[in-house]
Amino acid sequence: MLVSIYRYNPQTDDKPVMRDIEVEIPGGKDLMILDVLELAKRKDSSIAYRRSCREGVCGSDGMNMNGRNGLACITPLSDTVKPGQKLVLRPLPGLPVIRDLVVDMSIFYKQYEKVKPYLINDEPPPTIERLQSPEDRAQLDGLYECILCACCSTNCPSFWWNPDKFIGPAGLLQAYRFLADSRDTATAERLAGLNDPFSVFRCRGVMSCAAVCPKGLNPTRAIGHIRAMLIRQGT
């Protein structure tokens, strides 16, 4: 099978190119895209990409496969290409490329940092732990599972235009994760930090983020909840 891979080494290349490589796909089973990449790397060891857990847990192999963002390790080849088609692999769109499929995620992490992704509670800590009712705990479902793979934010047009000002779907999902936490006492400060025209309100509700999240999460819904909290607090 022909695999077309985005190749770019800033130290030696003027500009990126798509380079084809022929990979023999063993019959009898469906491979994941990451397996195909490993086979390609056996032929050309200079191909650079990130991966670690190979089971959709670490979030390091987010990339664009035939136009769709996802984790290469849990994306089946059969879902990505029709027989006879080329497999086209590109880095996550919108972020600076370090080399080939490896992108610089600094700005993504900076936006994550902005939402203070940790529990803030100024009450004196109890002797053992802060308890939560099962109902309160259930509020965090669909939020805490995020693995920060950046598939969503790099699929979001608003994040492409303003990656330095719009927090983006991944960061906002985590912002809501702590707004929704019954143990967190910084709700008002958190909301005050989000109420400018960029951080939250650049979301246009297109749902490109939810369409690609490999963990099946829905940042658009979380953003809607944040907006509703801002309206309740601000009107």
Binding site: S158, W161, N162, P163, K165, A192, G193, L194, N195, D196, P197, F198, S199, V200, F201, R202, R227, L230, I231, G234, T235
Partner: protein
Amino acid sequence: MVSRVTNLGRSGLFHWLVQRFSAVILGAYMLCILGSTLLSPEMDYAHWQAVFDSNLMRVFSLITLLALCAHAWIGMWTVSTDYLTDLQLGTRATFIRLLFQAGCALLIAVYMLWGIQILWSI
């Protein structure tokens, strides 16, 4: 927190609410005009003038005009801060963006004053 002078010192929530409210006003006005046109098949100049002569219609028209101007300003400001950025245009971006925003503001102001003058001359 990201703030800018040209967002008129307001919050994103304020922008968002103005965009939604003004859209509702614009929609209602359009339905109103469409209705009054359809309900009177013998529409002529005298009739048209009579519609706009009532104070209620005048106030409604004025509110709609203001809603349109606010809607247009927030919309154009958003467009300019999405596409006319350092990322797209490099170091000239601020100058180009300000020029564009000034042009929009001037156009919208002229439009508003002119609209008020038209409304009060009927």
